[in-house]
Amino acid sequence: MQPPSEHVHWLFATGFLILGLCLLGEAIVGTEVWRRRAWRAYIWPGVLFGLGVFMWPVMTFFTNSTIHMLAHGSWAEVLMLAGATELALVRGKLVNPWWRLTTLAAFLGSGTALLVHEQNAWFFQRSSFLHHLMGWTLVIAAVVPLARCVRPRSVAIGSAFALTFVVISVMLYCDRDVAPVFGHLSPTVGAPHR
């Protein structure tokens, strides 16, 4: 009953797409309007925390090496830390906006985890390429949550933050267990899927 790993990527892509749309909505209308209904304020921190929680079963059931286990475990921890901090900020338990730097840590942690646990080269196959691409995207995009701490009301930064999640979700949807990337597929991978 365990899903193939590509399905897990697609389910996470769906979570990221929901987050991206909600964050884009918040960037467009502004935080004040977005938070007029309490449940909406909790979407971003709640989903972020949830993604961290769901990373634990990924660590447990999809670990085929120590580096995979460490990467997914540390990934789960930084996502949960960022989610919990954002929850505390929305709830008013934390007030200093610089606590948002935990989101920067989540970006860097996630990017590093993606890069570290992908042992193959870029063009080994599609999932290798996408893991490298997502890793570098998150590491470079870590500047966005930093900018968000400095200018929390900026529509441009808010939109860039939201679009990062949309881009990551597109990459996750492209992920396949065995598939070529730009015509490249290592002969050691096996038979490609549909």
Binding site: H7, W10, T14
Partner: protein
């Protein structure tokens, strides 16, 4: 024309532009899902369900994108637009 009237009109125009942008997010996502389904119909296992396992029938990426668009359009957007009007 008084400056107050001009600034009020500008504010209304900005609000309606924001409302249009938020209203467009759901349909744009749904459109992306439908376009993907047409471009890669083989990723919709519902079209050829025989011999497919549980996960292949439940997790179909184009339908998931469509579902996210529907969710945002019918659950999230109406409340946001209502609050934007106030």
């Amino acid at each position: 024309m008084s400056t107050q009237l001009v600034s009020e009109r500008t504010a209304v125009r900005r609000r309606s532009a924001r409302a249009r942008a938020v209203s467009a997010l759901g349909p744009a996502t749904m459109l992306a899902g439908v376009a993907w389904a047409f471009l890669q119909p083989y990723r919709l296992t519902l079209l050829h369900p025989h011999g497919q396992s549980f996960w292949w029938l439940v997790v179909e990426p184009p339908l998931l994108v469509l579902a996210v668009g529907l969710l945002f359009h019918f659950v999230v957007a109406p409340g946001v637009l209502e609050d934007l009007e106030e």
